[in-house]
Symmetry: C2
Subunit: 173 residues, 2 copies
């Protein structure tokens, strides 16, 4: 991230990252498939935390309730102080297609993991897990994007909750 901020993502070579980390070019490849993965590594950690948070919700909670609660839990577990790096990474991904692509892939993986973690929970109207998770992640994503668009000024959780309310509400229900 430091090198990227200093020189721009495209200018940073894997070799430079390896050197800055005092490892060989080859060793870098033992850990990351590409530059993109290295930059997005932090994101990966968060997605795992989210899945863990969901698994740890009480078993009696419904799927949707548990999903929303796990987002809150994760946020609280950061002491309600979101990682600045997170916003930085997302801004970067907006500018660099290759990063975005990798981020989308991570998102897809997260979706599958969440679906799995929902096993056994009651779902609104029996909606399929894939659909429920997709709706949830859409809300999460749009909420966080809004937060970033607002220069990260306020509480990200607020924006996320708003977006989730918004997907919950429509269709004259």
């Amino acid at each position: 991230m430091r090198l990227t901020v200093e020189h721009g993502f495209d200018q940073v070579t894997v070799e430079a990252i390896a050197e800055a980390a005092n490892i060989s070019r080859r060793t870098f490849s033992n850990y990351f498939a590409c530059k993109e993965d290295a930059v997005l590594y932090g994101e990966r950690l968060y997605t795992r935390s989210l899945v863990r948070a969901l698994r740890e919700r009480p078993a009696h909670e419904g799927a949707w309730t548990a999903l929303r609660a796990s987002a809150r839990d994760l946020y609280v577990s950061w002491d309600c102080r979101p990682d600045r790096g997170w916003a930085l990474r997302t801004r970067l991904a907006r500018k660099h297609p290759s990063l975005l692509a990798r981020q989308l892939t991570n998102h897809a993986t997260l979706a599958r993991d969440l679906e799995e973690a929902l096993a056994g929970r009651v779902r609104p109207n029996g909606i399929r897990p894939e659909l429920l998770v997709a709706v949830f992640l859409s809300g999460l994503r749009v909420g966080l994007n809004t937060w970033i668009d607002e220069e990260e000024a306020q509480d990200p959780l607020r924006f996320v909750e708003e977006a989730l309310d918004e997907v919950e509400a429509p269709f004259g229900r």
Copy 2:
């Protein structure tokens, strides 16, 4: 697609594609940024058609109605006979992360185009276009995936409509 089916996606080099198409390696790059783009080119055409279909819906229709109708319109414009290649490509993308990544990127582009094409339409409960489109595309994707999981036996539209009904229904609305 032919080369991919014959030798496997990973084994096919850009050079081989160029040769099979009787163009030079360099010319390939003038048209596609990478192998993945070439394979997914057909998909790109469909997404464009979908956006066009949406634009051509009567202006008085609400956003959600227009979205659902445009999916039907597109399907009908294929004479209700879905492209076999489409299923083939999606199956391929399931196995190859690099293809999946590219497909997800295309999906993101499609989402932005649809949001734009929704301008001026009334949206359920005033939900943001990003969210509405995300919900719609989730339904579309899950529906089509279901169709593929069922060996493309039945009418894909049926699965799509079911999935869309499903995202429309929950949350006790």
